[in-house]
Amino acid sequence: MEQRETSGWAIGWTYFAGFMMIVIGAFHAIAGLSAILNDDLFVLGKEYVFKFDITTWGWIHLLLGIVIVLAGFGVFSGAVWARTVGVILAMISAIAAFAWIPWYPIWSIVMIAVAISVIWALTAHGRDVTRV
């Protein structure tokens, strides 16, 4: 009985992580498209290490977004490799968003918050899935 309850929870958390990864992927893609299409949204502040060309940042976001969406669908399987990939991509997402903060802070903060929720769901609860 106890066993079943634990598993039910874990499956739920894994789904949560999967859906959130699709949402983050969409966020990166929107930010990326916006940068590639040369929008004026972005603050060109002081000189800074990661101040690549905005188009370069756009492609980074777009490709990262696509990879994260695909990995999100993978997480629905609950496989160990998929959860590992999920955590790594969520960390890359958060780090990329952090490095990108000077360009558009609020988008970055939202991405980081959602990425942390994915890491939390997959690490604190993901392992229980294997008990099913």
Binding site: I11, G12, V23, A26, I30, S34, V110
Partner: protein, 133 residues
Amino acid sequence: MSQHRTSGWAIGWTYFAAFMMVLIGAFHALAGVFAVIDDAFYDTPGEYFLQFDASTWGWIHLILGVVVVLAGFALFSGAVWARTVGVVMAMISAIVAFAWLPWHPVMAVILIAVAVSVIWALTAHGRDVTGLE
């Protein structure tokens, strides 16, 4: 006993998600009404690839808001289809809010936060409802 308690919780979380969806729907509808009534309510961001004019975004929000409220009411039934629709609508709500963020960042962040709480309640706890039947 344990089973019973689980179900009680699950119903609670589903209610939570349903109320939150009614709330998000109202937020979207309000954000939309502001724009539809007064084109100048929002500062236009600089050039942006999703820069439709303010009233177009207004209608998107208004229609999305109404759909989300209806989906929220459906969720009180706890049916599987209603929970699936709830998760999908909450994801659409979060993504639309993110895309719309340059228009009004604070409103968009609130919409995203509430949408995430709906997805969380429905995925992490929603399934327990089935333990009832």
